[in-house]
Subunit: 208 residues, 2 copies
DNA sequence: TGTTACATGTAAGCAGTTACATGATTTT
DNA sequence: AAAATCATGTAACTGCTTACATGTAACA
């Protein structure tokens, strides 16, 4: 394994998702911390996101680990900006993470926790909460579906950048990236339809 | 609102899921911290879970808020055990939480983050990771489905306890609790089938 | 007699959010 | 001239996990 970096043992089974989210985005193109933040916020809340207050310190520690390199520059005359790029070691770490099986942390859905106690309140309240949930999931479905189609068509900024660098893998890249968002869309769709059915049964069969 | 408890402002939009998970379980029956821990661990990783190191301090703060009352007792001759019950204020807080709409925190699925980078590695690695995911989701589906059916039949320990206290609501309670786990099962099912389809396309159409 | 289950806590650390803090550049 | 955007950080706090710490009671 050769884990000779300074700063400790790396013993526990951490998740480290943000770390790899950043490495993965930087793989497409070098960026500043601010660019990363904007990317996470755009694309209808991407697959991972973080506040800048978490991104900047993490970028510093990734540089200390040798996974990214940082180059100071300026914007205009005086404004400092630091552009971060993936190093070879960073690329290796990313590929190793993507290619291995990781244990999934058990799902924790606050809404389902709420739903399991629905019997304690009246049908009216349940209907209100379910309606809001259904609308939310329908919107999530539409956003994920739209993004999936955009990726399949190669129409997002980041995929354009990657296609510029590696045009030979176009089809595989686009379909694989699209599939990730298709999964998210399918999940939102079943949740939306579950809520719809629930609502139909409530109104059709008042208080049972 | 009358938020006069000692210890601070309660300003931010927190999630507070564990708090309400505990209140909800205590609503069915008074319990010790150890009982709560076992309940969370059982039922195939319930809808929420926590380590005892989080439960005990939280129970203390819930008591300070007046939402639960605690009674010291013994097991055998010398072993201390503290039984926690829901107070009227706790029940009111729970019902208010269950009956209102709460903003869902944006989904963060580490697996989808991994999947969006699948194009960076070879088909063989993708197949390995997808296979593990498919098996995991299939098992999650089966566990949630089984639990949903058990709830519908009124066969779980906690629902038996609740039915003993409130037999008049039997049908509504069982079907609503079953529906929550049915939602979880449906989500696991679409994930499992998504992975299955992905795998089929990979083997059928090598490297595209 | 040894192992498992019961039972309750504290301490240290990681991941993430909110708030604090500052300043340059571009657009309106 | 004012507002929005670009840009980078630190501090404090919440939620959760891992590790530390201790002891009783039941069971094989």
């Amino acid at each position: 394994m050769a884990w000779g970096g300074p700063g400790g043992a790396a013993t526990g089974p951490l998740t480290l998702s943000l770390k790899h989210a950043i490495l993965g985005v930087l793989e497409a193109s070098p960026m500043t911390g601010y660019d990363l933040k904007r990317f996470f916020d755009g694309s209808a809340e991407w697959l991972w996101s973080a506040k800048h207050s978490q991104i900047y310190p993490l970028l510093a520690s990734l540089e200390a680990e040798g996974l990214v390199s940082s180059e100071e520059g300026v914007r205009g005359e005086f404004q400092r900006r630091v552009v971060h790029s993936l190093t070879e070691a960073g690329r290796a770490e990313l590929l190793s993470w993507v290619g291995s099986v990781h244990p999934q942390p058990g799902e924790r859905d606050p809404f389902l926790l709420q739903a399991v106690f629905f019997d304690m309140v009246g049908d009216e309240e349940v209907r209100r909460v379910l309606t809001a949930y259904r609308d939310e999931q329908r919107e999530a479905y539409e956003a994920a579906r739209a993004h999936s189609l955009a990726l399949a068509a190669g129409e997002t900024p980041l995929i354009k950048e990657r296609l510029r660098v590696r045009p030979e893998e176009s089809g595989r890249m686009r379909s694989m990236k699209a599939r990730a968002f298709a999964a998210r869309a399918e999940v939102a769709r079943v949740r939306w339809q579950w809520a719809e059915e629930y609502l139909a049964d409530l109104t059709g069969d008042p208080t049972s």
